[in-house]
């Protein structure tokens, strides 16, 4: 009896903490785990352009780096990427709004509501989501695909994404192979995919 109560208490505490840490002010029900930028060791943005909500487009990318499936491994990739984007390319921040690791963890880039620099023409009114790795020849693991889908559902629920948002592959609207042909085939099966942008 005693043991069950403790367990429940611990569980409750854990949930409460998770809510506070990841969700900020919004409800975190139906949302995937998101590691915030400060948690993965990211630097503050040198400039913030807030977007008009809700967002109309979601653009899917891959990062063409090695893939990763652990916190430390992914964080290192993200830190290097942010440093490259900020210092070499002179972007305000890491270029994507979110990134997804192969273990199904979502990493915050510029996050919801802040303009990224992922796709020319779709930065101000789009959210760029990148799968960490190279997906020309293979698909990301199911955990990563599920995390992306649940991030999108969560975005709609929280009012970040328009209910009738359009999903695109970067290769449809710019001169790039991103997110890789195999992953591009996959997302054509997803709801909201737009065949003729």
């Amino acid at each position: 009896m005693f043991r069950t109560t403790t367990l429940l208490l611990v569980l409750g505490l854990g949930l409460g903490l998770a809510g506070a840490a990841f969700g900020g002010q919004y409800s975190t029900k139906d949302c995937p785990r998101i590691k915030l930028k400060r948690q993965w060791g990211g630097k503050p943005a040198t400039g913030l352009d807030y977007q008009v909500r809700p967002i109309r487009y979601v653009v899917v990318h891959h990062t063409v780096t090695s893939d990763c499936s652990g916190f430390v491994e992914c964080a290192e990739i993200l830190q290097n990427m942010q440093s490259y984007h900020q210092n070499q390319l002179n972007y305000h921040d890491i270029c994507y709004n979110f990134l997804i690791g192969n273990d199904g963890v979502v990493y915050e880039g510029t996050g919801w509501g802040v303009t990224g620099s992922h796709t020319y023409g779709y930065n101000a009114n789009g959210t760029g989501i990148a799968f960490i790795g190279n997906y020309v020849e293979k698909l990301p693991p199911q955990a990563a695909l599920d995390a992306a889908k649940s991030l999108l559902a969560c975005g709609v629920k929280q009012g970040e994404l328009s209910e009738d948002y359009h999903l695109l592959a970067a290769s449809q609207v710019s001169d790039t192979k991103s997110p890789g042909l195999t992953l591009y085939n996959e997302i054509q099966e997803w709801p909201h995919w737009l065949s003729n942008p």
Partner: protein, 494 residues
Amino acid sequence: MQGEAMVMMLLAACICHSWSYKVPNVRVKLLEDGFRVAIPDETGVKSVAFNVNRNRNFTSFAQGEFSMQVRSPKDGLWMHDFLHNELRAHDTLYIWTSVQHERAIFRDISEPKQVCQLSGSSILEGCSFSVGKPLPATDQTAETATTPVTTSTTTTLAPCEPSLTEVSPVRSTSICKGQLIFEEHFEQLNESRWLHEVRAPLDTNDAEFVLYDGKASIQHGNLVIKPRLWSDYRPDLKVSSASLDLAERCSGTHNRQKECVLHTSGPIIMPPVVVPRLSTKESFAFKYGRIEIRAKLPKGDWLMPLLLLEPLMEWYGQTGYESGQLRIAFARGNTQLRQPHGKILDGRILYGGAVLSTEAAQREDFMVNQRRNEHYGNEFHVYGLEWSSEHLQFTVNGQPYGELLSGFVESDINPRWRRGGPMAPFDRLFYITLGISVGGFGDFVDNLRTASYAKPWTNKHPQARLHFWQEQNKWLPTWEHPELLVDYVRVYAI
């Protein structure tokens, strides 16, 4: 035709409607464990974001030390509580706000906010004013000369005449007229009081040819600020081809790209001279008062002593001299320096005054001066400035030599000064800076000649710094006494 006009009008009405929103002033309230930022809700507001920096101004819409997007209003307010951080009494908050109104984004940087002037600041130690309360006797070391001797039977305190002077950090006791509020004798170098700046000058129109870095020293009870050549500072890096990232050491807050990262490219070389620059930015600032500095000014071609008061919060703007700068005194280091028609500009002339423009030709518009037969740097003098809400009076060895009355506002150099009082921009807190600058475009007009050569650079020429450096064999031998020596700095309340 009429239809077209109608459409135009409708269009105009639409535009006016959607552009009529103005970001309201952010209200900040101190909490036990942090602070709350808020703006009132209005129809059409969809979301609000706040970015806040503590003691660091925003020069772009960058992410703040505190940053939060708020998605829904609560009780008629868009607000957020930043918790788990304690503000200190002399902190200043810089805030920018972004608001989505209908389908448009509006951004606004609000005026800096002093923590002690926020609502709820009474909970902070060091913010309470106790106007008119006499000072406790223990706090009157400075007053010994004027305080009547206390007898054994009665304790008479000097009557405290209320003062115009304000200081930061705010003190718990009231300030009396005539009271010594800042004193530094440089018996040793107190680095928590004097912050050493590490930065390149901002790339403004009057940028001087130096890098501010290195420590001042103390010798025989004097502060010694000594310029040195780049080759002495970093023998491992060539002045003509190198790059240097000051990184964590950099103290620049305006534009880190320009102040903290140096690299050469073509004719752009490293700053040929490196010199310490100290300020009380983090420890002491005042508004209105009398400052006295006993100093021996540097002698050597193109050296400029910096005995400055600089704006603490840059209330009226952050570029150029939008918030003003006061020069307590300077005399150019050159022993001889003339304009073509014979006007003398060398170290035999002492100047004091206000800098409001980056242009060398306008530098003396708000300056007073006094001419002597010998270089002011030959010996120690006491340079003074009395700064009140009505005038700036400059003195040397106690003798006034010039006065500037208010009237900076009328010059219309910066329209924002109209928002301040008659003395604007000199009606805000200023801190003390000591240092030396070399060359540059603001302090030396073109076509000058020393006794033996012409000024080696043309102002605003892209290769000015290079030309200056290339003529080193002409100016370096004249640096017989290039140090600035400071015996003491005292500030009195008025």
